[in-house]
Amino acid sequence: MSLGSWLELIASGLITGGVYALVGLGLNLQYGLMRILNIAHGEFLMVGAFLTWMATTSFGVSPLLMVPVSFAVLMAVGMLVHRLTFRRLAATSPNLDIFEARGLMVAFGLMFLVQNFADAVWGGDLRGYDYLTEPVHIGGSQFAANKLLLLALSLSFSIALIVMLRLTLLGKGVRALMQSPTGAQLVGIDTARLHPLMFGVGLGLSGVAGSLLSMAYTVSPSMGEPYTVTALIVITLGGFGNMGGALAGGLALGVIEALGMHFTNPSLKALLSYAVFIGVLLWKPNGLFNKRT
């Protein structure tokens, strides 16, 4: 195989991995910070994709413009959902374990709700539009422009989130909450404000991912689910609550899948992903990138 082919293969893995990372980061924010295992995460990605598709095909809005719009809309939805369900749940659950179990049930419910909402509003048909599909030549290899945009934006959003968590006071508060919820509250960190905000940011990121995916892939009410599963693998790889780990985990999973598909068979992709997943759970149950063992 030529160097160009290798480059193409690894880059196509990174492109897929970038989206995995973005979805994984959003879920990690919810699970790592609040112990909400949001099974409906991928469904909100689907909503972001549909919003972008609708704005583009019905109103001629540029999909690029819809990226921040999706973020804002889904963030608002996230804060509302948190207020309506998880806030109440947190107040009535006697401890964190029970909250986690109940939260999972609520998320299941949300999943059906959102999926059927999309089905009722937009119907079950496959949708799509043509945007930046022209090939771009880089060195000896070529890629669709929309895929490169996908990679650039998913990485930017992921890195922006990580930088925000590292450098700002808000981020410090969030990280403190992840390390020790009780300790953080003792030193005056306002969970009543931070939790809904971060839940919203998590959903916003999945909206961004959906918006980006709609540029390159077909959109349908059932598109979100596989991403929820992938996001779970990604945060397990990276370690719960470890943002840098989720980014690296997402990219790594994308590349592993691309290489695996090339050298074996796409039918074995799921086998490959789950083998990695089980392997990590067996050997490094806290994630590849967590220092705690």
Binding site: Q115, D125, L126, A144, Y217, M261, K269
Partner: protein
């Protein structure tokens, strides 16, 4: 389709949309006293309105069911041996889940005891429901099933409207051969549909002198086929053949454009003949793509009338493959009920024993298989999916060199 995912297995989706529509259509014609008195003909089916099989089911199949009931009821009802009776559709969502689908049909036939059933969508669901329908003695004319094994099961009440993998692949290989194709690369979805077509294609290819330079399977709903397409591109085949489902068809096309893979012939399966394919990739983008298709409005005056009625009633175009077969199956069923009434054994004998006039031409069955119409190949040309092979069925001449992806 067979993806049974525990995450979707919820209490979702039971809807009675079609019943309401059928009743509304019935109510609109209350003016006719004869109809108000006649008991409705209860027609049951389960079909995908949610889940991965939805795009196919809602393009090729359910719109036809709804339109059929609407048309018949508007005309005073279904002619049951001379008596007009309104059609009442009893339908539910199978959530693209085969188990739900089978249970729904079990209920329709076993406990609801509907008068007639209409088939579910897809090879897998038909494979599961056909033996059951046979046991209950309900004739089933399936417009969206391709499977040699379904033919081999020799179910007397089951009829396949589509040309099966063997004639479809033979037509394709025939066309390749006539146009000097030497090398072919194949990808196929690892479900019943893909596996059977791949097997039939391999057999058809064996004596043709062409070589298969690559063959790989993939799971339906894949997000990335570029690693496979790149390795196919390196082998530079004359023709690319994909036994794909709708989302895969779009993905394979888009990613081929992306990596600059543009063989002389680019063939894809389910979804290629869908209006959605043209809408997503733009008419210029699909120019020259070939695929499974068997008719278009030019095929017959009946086909043209059907096309126009579909656009008017369902607000969308039918696809140029299974939609036509679905309508033809309803034409046959209507004729059978007019002739023999609702005696299901008699309907079965009528379907099996006669040649039927349909929008697709004359259809007749040998066992379960439609042997009236030959295997065909379609091609996108200037925004229409034309039948290009065999020449006896062609609505336009074949373009033998696919233009570059636009």
């Amino acid at each position: 389709m067979s993806q049974h995912n525990p995450l979707t297995a919820g209490p979702g989706g039971l809807r009675r949309r079609s019943v309401v529509q059928a009743l509304a259509a019935g109510a609109a014609s209350v003016g006719f006293p004869a109809i108000a008195q006649a008991a409705p003909v209860r027609v049951g089916y389960a079909i995908s309105r949610t889940g991965p099989a939805t795009p196919g089911a809602q393009t090729s199949q359910e719109p036809n069911f709804l339109m059929w009931a609407e048309q018949q009821n508007a005309a005073g009802g279904l002619n049951v041996k001379g008596v007009k009776r309104p059609i009442e559709l009893i339908s539910s969502d199978d959530r693209s889940d085969i188990e739900t689908c089978v249970r729904s049909y079990e209920k329709l036939m076993g406990s609801d005891k509907v008068d007639l059933i209409l088939p579910p969508w897809g090879s897998g669901a038909n494979f599961a429901v056909a033996p059951l329908a046979n046991r209950f003695g309900y004739p089933m004319l399936a417009p969206t099933a391709l499977s040699r094994r379904l033919v081999e099961m020799k179910l007397p009440y089951f009829f396949l409207m589509l040309q099966q993998p063997k004639p479809m692949c033979e037509a394709l290989v025939d066309m390749f051969k006539a146009n000097g194709v030497k090398t072919v690369a194949v990808i196929y979805t690892d479900e019943l549909f893909g596996l059977e077509n791949y097997a039939a294609f391999k057999v058809a290819l064996a004596s043709s002198g062409m070589t298969m330079v690559e063959d790989k399977s993939f799971p339906t709903g894949s997000k990335d086929l570029s690693p496979v397409l790149r390795s196919i591109k390196d082998k530079n085949p004359d023709a690319f053949v994909g036994f794909t489902y709708p989302a895969d068809t779009v993905l394979a096309s888009r990613q081929s454009k992306e990596i600059g893979f543009n063989p002389k012939f680019f063939y894809a399966s389910v979804g290629t003949a869908f209006p959605f394919y043209r809408a997503t990739l733009t008419p210029a983008g699909v120019e020259g793509v070939i695929g499974m298709g068997s008719w278009n409005p030019k095929t017959s005056p009946g086909a043209k009338a059907y096309f126009d009625a579909h656009v008017k009633s369902q607000k969308k175009e039918p696809d140029r493959w299974a939609s036509g077969a679905c309508w033809a199956s309803l034409e046959i069923l209507t004729a059978a009920v007019a002739r023999v009434g609702l005696d299901r054994k008699a309907i079965r004998d009528f379907v099996a024993g006669n040649e039927h006039d349909t929008i697709l031409g004359k259809i007749k069955f040998a066992g379960s298989e439609n042997v009236g119409t030959p295997g065909t190949v379609g091609q996108w040309q200037k925004g229409e999916f034309e039948v290009v092979w065999p020449q006896s069925r062609a609505t336009a001449p074949l373009v033998t060199q696919k233009p570059a992806w636009a």
